[in-house]
Amino acid sequence: MTETSAAAAHQARTRRSYNWRVVDIVVAALIAVAGGVIFWAWSQGANLVSAPVNAFYPPLTGLYAGGWMIPAVLGMLIIRKPGAALFCEAVAATGELIMGSQYGTTVLISGVLQGLGAELVFAAFAYRKFNLPVSLLAGAGAGLFCGLNDSFLPWGWNIAYAGGDKLAYIIFTALSGAVIAGGLSWLATRGLARTGVLSSFASRKAATEPVFS
């Protein structure tokens, strides 16, 4: 090794950084984009279910809200760098805005808040734990923030609901976030690690990491 490259390598190792590489940014963004495509395709079918559900007892729609929060948890589980949940969910919301969203530009605020909900959970574990319980919690965090945003902020769609209905909705979104965004993302990350496509990420060994510790 030449002196310069040895020094550079040493520096890189000691920084071992929270810095995002180009590949982190692009993969995170494309995960968010792919998540958008998947949820778009899924909602084509889900609309048949959701319209009657919505007409019957609207808070039940919170039960499939978790689909929107997959990018936040999945992005973090793969990239494992601070900000990944926030960034991925913000990109997903931007994508939704471009495709045309019923929430207008407020979809960006929802996206940022949902990402923040997941981000805070990972931060609470100092970005060192990416196991199943933490994933479920992060999903629930995203879902909780989604429910709060929709129920209590001026642009929220449930702002005018009665208190009990708001509570029901928030519980549903948190549950949905935990199972759909948390659980499915955790499973997907393990599956992706097995295929070898994560070889350049810290998550490359996700498939063999312990489930609970």
Binding site: V26, A55, G95, G100, T105
Partner: protein, 267 residues
């Protein structure tokens, strides 16, 4: 299915304005409308927005094509507000969890109109704003970190490709005997498998795209911009227009006595 992310051919006035100015105007309108649920401010804003369609290069026909799901969503939102909002005034219907009163009906109607008045300017914004120009403005004018802005822009370019690949993977798995038919559980499993297939391709493609970008020198702290994002006199008019719409909406609602601040109406 492949959606074009450039707006070649849209010669409308608003297509020439700086995306940040347009975004500011839309945000102004959105935030003001969000403050109140009433049919007057929402209707006034909606009327203005519809009048602006030609400036964004849209026609009513085009809007209907792109926007009917939004109308459906707004209607559903109005419905849920109507049945779930706390009742006031005369009760019109009471069936266990559903209850409709004069007050909640008015709230629901206002909510529906407000939903449309918030969704429409975003549709206007995106139909006359090229994502490339938006990224230029975000990185050069709003000073967001260019690595993240351009990385996202490059990934968004692949939306169309991902949508096509989704369809191809569906057929390819069908050819292996994984049906898109069957009971809901089977269909869910098939969709999850298809999603996983798409994610693998997304990570592979993104990794290769990152190599391409890095090999072209991307990732340095500094770069130049071949095309400068600029503000012009038009942009001042765009922001003023946003102010005017927001202001007129509030003033009309106050004058009509329907202004109804969301935080105050909750109890």
């Amino acid at each position: 299915m492949r959606q074009e992310l450039t707006l070649r051919g849209n010669q409308a006035v608003l297509a020439r304005a700086n995306p940040l100015a347009k975004f500011t105007a839309v945000t102004l309108i959105t935030m003001v409308l969000a403050l109140s649920i009433d049919w007057v401010s929402a209707s006034v804003a909606l009327a203005f927005e519809l009048a602006l369609l030609p400036l964004a290069g849209l026609t009513l026909g085009l809007l209907w094509q792109r926007g009917w799901p939004l109308i459906l969503a707004a209607a559903l939102g109005g419905w849920s507000t109507t049945i779930l909002a706390p009742d006031s005034g005369q009760i019109l219907l009471d069936a266990r969890i559903w209850s409709i009163s004069e007050g909640s009906l008015e709230l629901g109607l206002g909510f529906m109109l407000r939903g449309l008045a918030i969704a429409l300017p975003a549709v206007l914004l995106m139909s006359c704003t090229d994502p490339t120009d938006l990224a230029d403005a975000l990185a050069q004018k709003a000073r967001l970190p260019h690595r993240f802005v351009l990385g996202t822009l490059a990934a968004l370019r692949l939306v169309g490709l991902m949508a096509e690949e989704w369809q191809t993977i569906g057929m390819a798995r069908h050819a292996r005997g994984v049906g898109s038919h069957g009971n809901p559980l089977q269909r869910l499993r098939a969709t999850l498998g298809q999603s996983f297939g798409l994610l693998v391709q997304a990570v592979r493609r993104a990794s290769r795209l990152a190599v391409t970008m890095e090999a072209r020198g991307f990732g340095n702290a500094r770069r130049t911009w071949a095309r400068a994002s600029v503000f012009t006199g038009l942009d001042a008019w765009v922001v003023l227009g946003g102010l005017l719409i927001a202001g007129t909406a509030v003033a009309s609602a106050l004058a009509a006595g329907t202004w109804n601040m969301v935080f105050l109406s909750q109890q």
